[in-house]
């Protein structure tokens, strides 16, 4: 399971690059370096060092990719909601938001690299694109979204020039940013959702579900980042901002779980074996039921109660709720990617060949088995550390630009 930068930061380091700040940044850099070493090891030996095989042929890398893409949503939502929906109370989070959007989508793109068997051929994506492939659509929208976030950030941080013209441009960006974000998450969903070979993925609900869980997890990440900044960097956000964030989190969490439940009920009531196959592994009683509990209890009911029950702003409870939401959304990504591959449509003996051989073990798998290895955990920890590093340094940079302003 993933660790999240802010919950780790609560332990010791502070955000200003004093001694603790350097320690924090240094620790993150070390984890990222370790991941890089693990990736070199994987390049030398092939993906055989991961837990993936022919049946579960996508694992933590692709799940984490989808998770990072989702995290990037919060940013442009924060920045755009203020303009488009008149939610002025979110305005103070606009810059942190756009920063996190750029950082998350960049790290998401990098996450595809370790999943490739031939990473040295990644340039072919730009030279020989096959336009029917949703993966190509996704690479295009990821590139556009990243450039958009960088330009948005540049506009927000520019100090010279005509301020009213800048405001006008920011307004335009807000109106473009919202549909761009919706498109990014829809296309990422369609990578999976369009595949009729995997009945568990093949639902029209997937795009709305990805958009919702993206807003949910993206907002949770920004809430955590802002809480950490309040705690370690003397940042103070208006109470109204926190009220809105809390409402936004509770509402999107409810909508997210509603959509998942709507999918479950369709599968369970219909009882079509091909559709039931994957869900049976995830519902209570199945081998992968821990995903269900993480999604519905740890990342569902508990954070929902933490968000709606307390009266007034309770930073610690809000931080805990946001962290749990991230756990739940990550569980949902694994549930979807790995769960969807556990039982092939032709679920017959002896199953699918493994693609590797161990003396005395069957070279076939009927029901998918997937145990991630230290290489996968290391690389994912490194990517998370890299993301935290980008956010920390980016925050410092924003702070240095806006010494006179109340919020960076």
């Amino acid at each position: 399971m993933a660790t999240y930068p802010q919950s780790a930061s609560a332990a010791a380091p502070r955000f200003h690059l004093g001694r603790t700040g350097i320690l924090w940044v240094g620790a993150l850099a070390l984890i990222a370096l370790w991941a890089f070493a693990a990736w070199i090891y994987q390049l030398a030996n092939g993906l055989v060092v991961t837990g993936m095989r022919d049946e579960v042929s996508w694992g933590l890398y692709i799940s984490t990719f989808a998770f990072f893409v989702g995290l990037s949503a919060g940013g442009l939502i924060m920045a755009s909601a203020a303009e488009v929906f008149g939610a002025r109370s979110l305005k103070p989070l606009a810059r942190i938001g756009v920063l996190s959007a750029a950082a998350c989508v960049l790290v998401a793109a990098i996450t595809i690299i370790p999943d490739l068997g031939k990473a040295q051929r990644v340039w072919e994506l730009f030279v020989y694109p096959n336009w029917t492939s949703p993966l190509i659509w996704d690479i295009i929208i990821i590139t556009v979204y990243f450039c958009f976030a960088v330009v948005d950030l540049a506009l927000m941080t520019r100090r010279n020039g005509d301020p009213s013209a800048r405001q006008r441009w920011l307004r335009v960006m807000a109106y473009v940013g919202l549909p761009a974000a919706v498109l990014l998450h829809s296309i990422t969903a369609w990578i999976f959702g369009l595949q009729f070979a995997r009945p568990f993925w093949n639902t029209a609900l997937l795009a709305p579900l990805f958009v919702t869980s993206a807003i949910l997890s993206g907002t949770a990440l920004i809430a955590l980042a802002a809480l950490a900044a309040e705690r370690f960097d003397k940042l103070t956000l208006p109470l109204q901002t926190w009220v809105t964030v809390r409402k936004l989190l509770a509402t999107t969490l409810a909508i997210d779980l509603f959509l998942v439940a709507a999918d479950y009920i369709t599968i369970v009531w219909g009882n079509v074996p091909r559709d039931r196959a994957a869900l049976d592994m995830i519902l209570p009683g199945g081998n992968w039921q821990w995903l269900f509990w993480l999604e519905w209890l740890v990342g569902g009911l508990v954070p929902f109660l933490l968000l709606v029950v307390p009266r007034g702003h309770r930073p610690r409870l809000l931080g805990l709720a946001a962290a749990l939401i991230l756990v739940g959304v990550y569980a949902f990504r694994i549930e979807l990617v790995v769960g969807g591959m556990l039982k092939p449509i032709l679920w017959l003996a002896p199953g699918v060949s493994l693609g590797s051989y161990q003396l005395g073990a069957s070279p076939f798998q009927q029901t998918g088995v997937y145990h991630p290895t230290w290489v996968e955990y290391s690389i994912i920890a490194g990517l998370i550390a890299f993301l935290a590093l980008l956010l920390t340094l980016g925050y410092r940079w924003l702070k240095s630009l806006s010494q006179t302003e109340a919020t960076p």
Partner: protein
Amino acid sequence: MAQDASHNWGMVIDQERCIGCWTCAVGCKVINNEPLGFWWNRILTTAPNEFSATSSADTITPPASDAIDVPHGTFPKLEMAYMPTACQHCDDAPCVKVCPVGATFQRDDGAILVDFERCIGCRYCMAACPYGVRVFDWGEAEHVPDFTVGYGRDYRTADGRLVFTPDRPIGVVEKCTLCVERIDVGEQPFCVDVCPTGARVFGDLNDASSEVSTLVHEDGATQLLGELGTDPHVFYLPTEPNRSA
């Protein structure tokens, strides 16, 4: 080595004749020098019924066993059939549609091939294939005995794409090639040649008088998971009691 665009290759597998001996699967391994743990072709144990080629997975009761040759059903009502399953060479192939770099492609004669020099190893095609017939070179290929067997040479299509190599690169996806190196010189795929019961028939679907055409158009051979609309070039003849003709 030019392939003739006027061909439209097809294969029919007669499930009544198949005895589940795995000779085609082993022959496939040998001719293609498949490393340990690789099976381009495998013989699924299933149950015969009207759509034995399509519906056997649609049972909520788990397969009778992880092991092959275990009958389906409850005693005394037991039944069993075999379904040799390799790449179905679909005309509307999801693997071709999802491949981001066009490494998987369809030749004019219907064969779906993978360009070993183009594949980036993203494995999207494996996620998209409903038949689970694609295998990935996860690591260094292992062979026992440790020397090259089978066709033994690289094979390129007329436009120069490397679609078979005995020495597997790490990190690309591979699968049944319909033995293009053999059919391009007028031979049959190796699985067809080695089948001891003649359960496999290979030929040109463009030729109305060919045996495959007859089996497909008159004897009611069906496509595996035909309802998905992938339109395979491989067809199955159901077992005898269930044959319509």
